[in-house]
Symmetry: D2
Subunit: 140 residues, 4 copies
């Protein structure tokens, strides 16, 4: 596949300007995927020392947003999560949490992707798996 037209740096620059409160940043993009990462702060940890479900959702949502930019070939901040379903597979523990989203389909109105979540360098120990749809703004 071709080199994506946009880079992780370009995504981070735009997102950090528009959305200073965003947890997570883009650490890698490819022709059909994007990887998001986020440091685990104490407020993200649940009883037992586990990274909370909403924190895992947030990193998936970020990865899906980034892969939507990859799919469109442009940074489209008004692309919105339309629906997302997640399965939590095992407890998540670590200092840094990652999600990699892979494109499944792109149409005029939406982007569908599958995403995995893991902690630190344990890419084979996925803690959650998800699928979701981002809606692309329609021309008025």
């Amino acid at each position: 596949m071709a080199t994506p037209a946009i880079t992780a740096d370009a995504i981070n620059t735009v997102v950090s300007e528009l959305y200073p409160g965003a947890s997570g940043m883009c650490v890698e993009v490819g022709a059909d995927y994007a990887v998001a990462a986020c440091d685990v702060d104490p407020h993200m940890v649940r009883p037992g020392g586990f990274v909370s479900g909403p924190t895992q959702f947030a990193i998936v949502d970020a990865a899906l947003w980034y892969v939507t930019f990859v799919a469109l070939g442009r940074i489209e901040p008004m692309a919105m999560t339309s629906e997302l379903s997640m399965r939590f597979l095992r407890p998540a523990q670590g200092r840094r949490i990652f999600s990699r989203a892979r494109l499944e389909a792109v149409s005029r109105r939406s982007v569908v992707a599958t995403a995995h979540v893991w902690c630190d360098d344990r890419t084979e120990k996925i803690t959650a798996t998800a699928q979701g749809t981002y809606a692309i703004p329609l021309p008025r």
Copy 2:
């Protein structure tokens, strides 16, 4: 239906001890439902002034957790989200965000519920709808 054996106050006391970082609190429980609420902080707001998807996921997840306690008749902090699917229906704007989860089914190993999300007093303008499953810890 009968009065639930546990109260919103009891839930908030236990949760705030175990999980000081939790956003959201329980504001109401009934025989087959629970309502969670959370003040909208600036870091929860996305471009356009909208409450972020992860924030809406978090309040749904809290409401499902509380309604799991209602279903079990006890506060079981190790009940964990097993899976959750959300649909985002319209932009969410407001000072306070709410989710009401209603029980669908309770079995030996899981609790299933449907949840709505809204802002402020606009209970009829739901911004997201979700269904999910909480896993009940199995005896060893």
Copy 3:
């Protein structure tokens, strides 16, 4: 709410012409809901005597299709399932299977609804619960 502009009879007439292979028929519509029903044939039954998951999916899909017609105020056969998530709650046994779908939201491009499934007259013993989205064809 107002009386729906379309009736169960009108839906059944159009659907049976366009789609003779459809299992299920519309048995009731209201301002924000539709009910689908289907006789349970032997090929729909799994080991143990239970109505299969795909059969339950099919009746939910039919109910969501019908409630999309209700939402639009017209019969739009090219409305297509965009996504659907189902939870199976208990074994389904009976002679006839039903699904009631209730509208959650209607936008320019989609209809979101929640649906329950039950057998025979056991409306309180839901065997499955689902949420899904129907995509409305966009003007070219």
Copy 4:
């Protein structure tokens, strides 16, 4: 990974005895995947000539069932779909429909997998993508 302990033939033999009404058969298994296939009959086709959503759900459900057997290393017919979410990506047209399910996680009580659907030999043109959970019967 190791060779799976069970074969497609073994699965088909058991399933066809227990569940003569099953559409679909297992055409391939590997250490972490299973492929199901089914001939498209006229009653599976919707207006426009498209394979219906429930038919696509059925083939996904079969693939998930088979991959659950792979994960367990035994044919466990009472494994039941717990939840399944599907996204429909493009119209499905063809003579034969396939689904490949890949294992995501296996625990004491459930198996999670992601599945793709395609028609004929168009393995790259997936018509639907899904994730779901099969519940493993608990010892009494």
